[in-house]
Subunit: 220 residues, 4 copies
């Protein structure tokens, strides 16, 4: 059984009606719920409001793969806890930063770059798999259609991925490295771009399949 | 002085009025001419019609970097000459396959994959640099605007590039790894997508700068 | 169930007493036998002497992962069959070339380089894992002790591996990239250096574990 | 002219007779001196004892490539200054951490991993170039003989290099990724292992050539 922790800052979930409309149960619970449909996965959700942000030593020791969604409260995660996450990745924990978690402290610590990008607006996205033999792409149509997403745009200031699994193409000839896999220490990291809080991305069965695949890849 | 050979199959150049209108002097001569504007480069052009396709042992021994444009006559290059080019790359010669040369024999031999892609039509392209510190991107605006190009689309069946320098974004949410750098043996390879025969791509000063940069990178 | 084919040229197995002493049942059967101990794997052995070298379209269509041991008879494999193997890798089959199969036709076709190396003699080897979180390294001690092996030495003329999993260190300050993982098309390739025919390498439980891991990784 | 800054903690240089015997003028001055023999390079040396460690905003703005040697005083470099170096790499400055600078703050920040390794003793080293077409290897014999060096040993906990240029082989079947090239932001990083303070490594003409090459590569 793969032990998964789904971390969410849980801020806009509580205050923004547009977000609540899409994720009435909270984005983190939505993600944990679909992961739990897989018989090999046991997922639970924690948030910034939990003691030690839900990321105590004990919690991380008991975690194989951590998913991370944050946006407006990155700075509320104490540096010490961000480093704790980084160190657990070094020892073998998987980390899957989602969407605006490109600016989360653990991801930035693990990449060593600014992780900056540009955000030109909201667009239709086609997500292309550029490495169709990768375990994370297993059973996934190519391309994936996303009716509307927040456009993320290059230059995405990251180290070159060990495996570039997806590239997102947005209306207006915009492009973004959307699925980026890394080894860091004994752990694996998979950044995945889709997942803006006001769109039903995590209700999309294909996106769910990608994240389920990513959890298994990160544990392997 | 960097000794450059510009190879072109020179077929559509001779028979297709649309191509002749864009490149009255031949595409190969156009490319050699702008490369020769750089004081460090000495370029000459050869074609499939030359003895040994212009690619004799002597010619290749005297070449630092070979640019290659081919489209409808890949099969007319003898296997033995394609292998000769491959072996010169192994010994240190640079190779810059252009546009439809993704299907040229030397590139396919050096990649080991099918080098297949899809060709959905003609579109506006924006070419994004994803590695702005790379020598090939020096002094290049980001993105580069190309009014109309033949769209090439993923999946581009190549080995993961050692350095992915450019990604092309085409209208209609299409995407292509457009500037791909590799080490092969002691030589370097840079595949570059823009350059359809009926559009004035090689008259574009930015494209010219990229290819001049690529020649210097391949020689370094 | 992972369907595995173990291919061996089976030449020295038949004529060289030193090889027969180590692998009385044939190296290919030894490898297939230990792979079959894993409940997820179903392996069978074929040789150069079988019709179509044991590598008919039907056989390859029914193969998830192909292991390949060859040494003195690379040239006896018809080009057409080598290309057939290459094309099956493109479509998703895993390939695990062993030891002197660095010079096998399918590996050379898939790498695009000369795959040359130097062979300075016979030495003690320590095999170091440089990517301990990789699935192929799961449960493997670091380093692995090999009492005596044929020394392979850099420069190993291969494309940079997507994942460099092992480096072999030989007496006399010699070094070799010994475990090299690649994506090629939809398939995966893992070259693994240990396995000289006169030493009991494939009887070593740790080497067996690495190859069992590699089969699962190549199938994933 | 390439503007180079050679940074050294300058601690053992002052207190350890064995170090003073090898580098009477200070290791940093030795390095700056041989770099200055190249007509394209203008190098100066600074140390931890200089105001702002010699790494003021003004100094870094005026630096193309920074070499860094530190060992026992990594912790004396203020976090703020380490981050300043990191940010200058993001904007395009080259960084060449030497030997025990694998544990320097700027390198660790840029890698995102622990950068740990093991140190088994002092040994003869042979340094093998695994990418002989790389600009840093230009004109360098293969292998390079180093009579005695401090052995560094895998596992070296770094991200997979974009380009693995050298592997060090030490007596006793020990091995270390000794020359590791990375892109980070717009800047380049080249970690280079040889350079223990009590051995005349930086007086070795081949090592000098490698570092001169590395400076030019980092600036390109």
């Amino acid at each position: 059984m793969i032990k998964v922790l789904v971390w969410c800052e849980n801020r806009q979930n509580k205050t923004d009606e547009a977000v609540k409309a899409v994720y009435p149960n909270g984005m983190h619970n939505t993600i944990a719920d679909f992961l739990n449909l897989d018989p090999e996965i046991s997922a639970k959700a924690v948030t910034l409001d939990d003691p030690e942000c839900g990321l105590s030593e004990e919690a991380l020791k008991d975690t194989d793969v951590l998913l991370w969604w944050g946006h407006i409260a990155h700075h509320e995660v104490p540096d010490e806890i961000a480093k704790r996450v980084q160190h657990h990745v070094w020892r073998g924990m998987g980390l899957i930063p989602l969407h605006s978690a490109h600016f989360s402290k653990p991801f930035k610590l693990l990449m060593g770059t600014s992780c900056d990008l540009s955000v030109p607006g909201f667009f239709k996205e086609q997500l292309w798999c550029t490495l169709p033999g990768h375990p994370i792409a297993k059973g996934i149509p190519n391309p994936i259609q996303i009716e509307v997403e927040e456009g993320y745009n290059e230059v995405f200031d990251i180290p070159q991925p060990d495996e570039l699994v997806f590239i997102g193409a947005f209306e207006g000839c915009r492009v973004f490295r959307a699925g980026c896999a890394y080894h860091r220490g004994r752990g694996k990291v998979f950044y995945f771009q889709p997942g803006h809080e006001t769109f039903p991305i995590y209700h999309n069965a294909t996106i769910q399949q990608i994240l389920t695949n990513a959890v298994k890849w990160a544990k392997a």
